[in-house]
Structures are given as C-alpha cells and as structure tokens.
Symmetry: C2
Subunit: 414 residues, 2 copies
C-alpha cells in the first residue's frame, strides 16, 4: 500500500537483472534502452550487481568508430538458488545457478500416509542436502531457498495456514524447516511461484498485466497486475480453480458445484473422457499423468475420442479464461503447469478459439494467449525466484564501498 522510493530502486534492480538474465551477455546501453532508465541509473545498478558478484564483465562488443561497449553477463557461479516444490505425492528440489540453469535435482516420493509436517520437512531437508552435495557448491554460495507448498500461506510469518491435501492448519513450516536448513528461506504457494517464474523468465516478462493459468491436478491463476504479483489482502488471490463455471455442476472437493477445476484439472479431464467414452483405452484410472499423456498421443494420432475430449476441455477452459480476459484485460494469458505442457498446441488452439467466442472483442484483441515457454518445472523455478528476489531486496545499501580504482577494468580484454 505505502510506496516508498526504495520500492522504485528494488523494482528497477529486478528489471535490470531480469533483462541481463534474458539477454546475457548484454551492454549497459541495451539495458537502458530496454528498461527506459537513464544510462547513469543503469550503470549504478549494474555496479551494485557487480559488487554482489551476481554478474560479471565478460568483454566488449565490436565497435564501429567509438569506444566499444562493455558487456556484462550473469555470473553463473556467483551463487546458487534452491527451489522446493512440495506437492501432494512428492517433493522436488532443484538447485539453480544464477543463470537459472538446473545444476542438480532431487525427488522424494511421499506415501499417502506421510502427511505430518515433520515427515514432509524431513523429505525437504534430505532433498535440499542432496542437491547441495550433488552440485558441489559450498554452502556459503547458496543465496536462499524458496519453498512452494499448496494452499494458503502467510509469507511473512512463514506459516502454512491451510493445506487442503493434508488437512494442515497453521503449520509454522518455515520455523520447522529452519531447524534443518541454514539458508534464507522463502515460503509461498505454487500458483504464485509459476506466476513469478513467468514474470521473470517466461511469457509475462515486460508485461504489466498478465494472467498465468495453472493447469495441473489443481487449477489456479497467478495474477500479475501493474508489473508485480497481486497477492490480495490475505495473500490468497488467484484461487481461480473454484470459480463457478457451471451452476449446480460437478461436485468439487471444496464443497461447491461446478468449479472450473472439476472440468479442466487433470481429474476433471479424466472425467470428461470417462463421460464421453467410459471404456476408452486412453483412460488409466488412478494415474493422471498416464491418462493425460495418452490423451496427448491420441490427439497427435488424430483419434476422434482424444480430439473430442481436448475440445470439450478447451470449451470449459476457454469460457473461464474469457472471463479473466474481460475482467482483467491482461496483455497475455499464459497456460502453465504439466497438463498444459503435455497437451500443448492442440489444447492452445482450441482454447484460443473458445476464448474468442466467449470474450468481448475489445479486450480479446488486446491479449495474447500462449503456452508457457519455460522448459523446466515452473514451480521449482518460481520458488527459486522468490529466493532471488529476496537476495536482491535485502541489499544492505552502501555496503559495497567501491574503492577508487578498485574494480575498474578487470574484464578480459577483447
């Protein structure tokens, strides 16, 4: 609510680093042009990032008649970020370098019974230890650990207020984790993790208003509004999965009827398939992943049943997304998470068609609908991004003292 000039600096720092990561290597001039900031400001921010060793000077651009532009690039080895994706049946942990490349990964399966916070925390701690060991980085280089847990989260206190999977209520997850993990910890939920991943590295980059629609087992929508994540008053904005799409429709586990999630989440899609063709060979009861994969193959082979299921699903999804387009008028709608990734282009095309039918013409023409371009697990990436943001905003200011003649001209010459 209360904006201060520090926020401007932080936002600009984000913007510059985003641009460097995306365009690495790049020059100050290009950064200034891309961000709209003055050269001096860019230079200052670049200086800060250099002092933090998050980026390095990597040489010079060939020039045609003037002083060559110095190039800066992400200093991949300048630190490591860890992203933790806690899901219903597994914990996945990835360790990234500062270029956001995956250096190590650890998966831990959780049995249905294992729902106590202590058990989950144990898995997370083990996996975090594993990735650090695998990557062989010294602990001091880990800048932070972002943790995504489904449900409602208070990111300030680090309390998981409510996790529907395991009936958790007000679990002080961050405190529990900090007993096993020595790095700075950041907690949020997968919806917002995916949104932040798109904002930094994906299709929402540079867009003021974007909606990241999450299609997995659950369904939600991360909201990027005014260039930043919209959290709402109690950090629970984005619960789009329980929007009523069909009055008195399918029963949802939330207790209501006709929620979007029951039609376009993985279990909903399976139900769409079952209703259309109960004995289809595409259907793998009890295995969502296998069914969605089979469906994708079926579409590729142009099987009528698969095509019809995708079309039906897209009709529901399109109606829901059209509502978001009308309401929020975003520049881009991103389809993210594994169901969207698996069904890919065929789903996208049907969705585009359905949205165009359901939305108003003016807002529709202003928004693009795309698949997430992020190749890896967006939840881990987004969680790691929370850690990155944390590392960037906790700069003590004036700590780097920039000794005269110190860092000038250390870069490898052309």
């Amino acid at each position: 609510m209360k904006r201060t000039s520090r926020d401007i600096r932080t936002a600009n720092r984000y913007e510059v680093l985003r641009e460097i990561i995306a365009e690495s290597p790049t020059s100050r001039q290009e950064l200034a042009a891309a961000t709209g900031l003055s050269l001096a400001t860019v230079a200052t921010l670049v200086g800060e990032l250099l002092d933090l060793r998050m980026i390095t000077e990597v040489g010079f651009e060939d020039s045609a008649g003037g002083r060559p532009r110095g190039l800066v690039a992400v200093n991949a080895s300048g630190g490591a970020l860890i992203g933790v994706d806690i899901a219903e049946t597994y914990v996945r942990v990835e360790l990234f370098d500062l270029g956001l490349n995956v250096l190590a990964r650890a998966d831990e399966d959780m049995r249905p019974g294992e729902s106590l916070p202590e058990q989950v925390v144990g898995h997370v701690a083990a996996a975090v230890g594993s990735v650090v060991a695998q990557a062989g980085v010294e602990g001091a280089r880990v800048l932070g650990v972002g943790v995504s847990v489904p449900g409602q989260v208070d990111r300030d206190t680090g309390i998981a207020e409510y996790a529907p999977n395991w009936d958790w209520h007000d679990v002080p997850l961050l405190d529990l984790l900090s007993e096993h993990i020595a790095y700075p910890l950041y907690l949020d939920n997968p919806l917002r993790a995916c949104a932040v991943a798109e904002l930094w590295f994906g299709a929402a980059r540079g867009h003021g208003d974007a909606v990241v629609v999450n299609l997995g087992t659950g369904v939600g929508a991360g909201l990027v509004l005014g260039g930043g994540l919209h959290r709402g008053v109690s950090n629970s904005a984005g619960e789009w999965g329980h929007t009523t799409l069909v009055l008195d429709g399918r029963l949802c586990h939330c207790g209501n009827h006709g929620c979007v999630e029951t039609y376009v989440g993985a279990p909903g899609i399976m139900l769409n398939l079952r209703e259309l063709s109960p004995k289809s060979t595409l259907l793998h009861p009890e295995d969502q992943t296998a069914t969605i994969n089979a469906l994708a193959r079926g579409v590729a082979d142009r099987e009528p049943v698969a095509l019809k299921v995708v079309r039906d699903t897209a009709r529901y999804l399109g109606a829901g997304i059209a509502d978001l387009v009308n309401l929020l008028n975003p520049q881009v709608v991103v389809l993210s998470s594994w169901v969207a990734a698996t069904l890919g282009e065929p789903l996208l095309n049907e969705v585009r068609e359905a949205v165009s039918r359901h939305s108003l013409r003016r807002p529709f023409t202003a928004t693009e609908i795309v698949l997430s371009p992020i190749p890896t697990d967006p939840v881990c990436l987004g969680a790691a991004t929370f850690a990155l943001e944390g590392a960037l905003s906790s700069i003590s200011q004036r700590s780097g003292r920039r000794v005269a003649g110190g860092r000038t001209r250390t870069a490898p010459s052309a």
Copy 2:
C-alpha cells in the same frame, strides 16, 4: 508501468486530500497519523493545497496544555467540479463544490432516436451550461469536467472506442465536447467512475484492494487494486457483466449465453420475476425502475414472490461475487448503482449468505460485503472525481512561491 517519485507525491497528495474531505475539519497531526506520512510531509502537502485554495485554515482545536492544533477544512468555495453521466436514455450533470456537495443538477432526456454523437454532445453542453448558470459560479472556478460514457473508452485520446448503446465506433467525444465546453475535460466509463467514487469517498477508502460491483441496467465491476484503479492494458478491465455464470444459459446482447448481466442486471431481474410469476403485479414491462421499486416494496411487505425473486437474484449474484472474492481476495466488495441502492439491505443479506456458500473460507473471512454509502448518483460523483484527480496531478510544482511570512497565521483566531 514505470513508477517515478512524482507518482509517490501525487498519491500522497490524493491521500491527504481524501482524508481532509472525509474528516473535514481535521489537523495535520491526524492527517499524519491517518496516512502514515511524517508530519513534515503532511505539512508540505497541506501547504500545497492551501496555496491552491482547495482547503483553508478554519481555526484551532482546544488543547490541554500545549499549542493548539491548527485545523484545516475543505474550501468548499475554492472551486467547482462537474460530473457528467451519459446513459442510454438520459444525460445527467451535477456540479459539486470542493466538499463534493451537489450545488446544481441538470437532467436531459434523450429520445431513443437521438443517438448521434452530435446530439448527445448537444445535450451535455446544454446541461453543463445550465448547472454553471444555476450555481452562479464564475467560469474560472470550474476546475474540470469529468464525463462518463458507457462502453470502451480511451481516456488519453478522449475517444469513445465503442459504445454498445448507440453503435458508436471510435467517436472523438472529447474533441467534440471541447468545442462547446471550455473547461478541462476527462473521459472514462461509469464502471470506473463508480469505483473511483468509492475509493475517494465511499466504502473502498483506505483499502488497498476493493471490488465495486455495479448493478444497474448493465453490470460491471470496478477494480481497485494496490490502492489505485486497475485499468488493464486497453482500459477495459472490469467487464464483469459478461462473465459466464451459466453455461448455455440466457442469451445476452453480447452474443453469448449465461452472462452475469442477464441474471442480475435490471432486465435480468425482471426476467427472474417473470419466470417465477408471469402475471405478478410487481412486473411493469418496459419500465425497469418501476419494477425494481415495486420489488423493493414487495420485499418490505414480505410478499413471497418478491422475497423469492430477490433470493434468486442474490444466488446468482452471490455465485458471481464469490468468484471475485476467490480470485482477487479484496478487503471489501461494494454493491453500487441504482439497483443495489433500491433493493438495499434485503439483497445485501441474501448476497452475503450466497457468497459465503460459494467462496473459499479464507478469502471470504478477509472480505467485507457492503452497500455503497454514497447517497447521491455515484456516476456523477465519480466523473467529478476524475476532474478532481486531474486538477491535483496537473500541479505545476513550485508555482506557488510561498513568500516568506506570507500566509502564516491568517486564520480566524479562536
């Protein structure tokens, strides 16, 4: 997108003036406490507003042992603001003093045939001239004219891109109006006008995130996010009336089926009534206002049919609002416009109940649902508020030169 320190100043200026208008008269100390700003900043901003003659010093508060606090209040006669509400069948113009009290009003009816931009502009110009004459203010005191026109509007170019009522396409409305009206003009649509009215003077004041649900002939939702109006990328955010509530439901004039508007807009409510009881005496075909009024009286008399219609309407409305609560997690949802005002508390209670059934518990407990506390036409008020915002942000800065010893201590003594 790009935030600058000037924006902070403007936002703070808004905040301070809002507070003064709401709590007039008030002291600098209270303002500092209410806004969270330092005393010095408040003093500077108050000084600016004094220089602009928008507020005046009106005396002192009794003190108990110290220097008494100087009180400032809105300088009602320091200027006038005009709000124009262009609707399908009428043009309403109100002239406000700076305390946002209505000083004069003019209504012009428009016949169904009169849909040419020139005709509408003529009515507006006549009504604006009328209110200025009625109020007897010199023209120089009119700070601006805000104009609300339904549909899609480009507020920067002043073009009404699309007005569904009259099939307008890209009408340069502001240019046309400026030929007849010499005051600064501001253009937007009624949705955002109502939202801004609530943000400045109504139930959304002081809340970072709010949704202003507009129930009139048409239906929409003004979005206040992060303390400011959310406009979306092409200034068309808030088109909530065409959210699909019932898949394959009632046909809407937008071409789709099952839009919220077809169930909870005035014509929709009439249809709810007709479907329930085709021969009800409450029903006045061709007259929305009469029907809604009759319905309100019926509810007051506890007539079963009226009660049932309101309950049914609230069920639809509640489902729709629940989706907004889940998605945006606002602090407050305001029911605005004439249908909401007419049906009042009975509708509100049913809506609250319905929302609580359809929304997730966590976001629901964080949001309040209220009727708009604004007693006058919110569209005119909101339109005038656009003019007020315009007058406040176009401050030339350092124009008032604050001669030493100039304005000190001119106030009436206690």
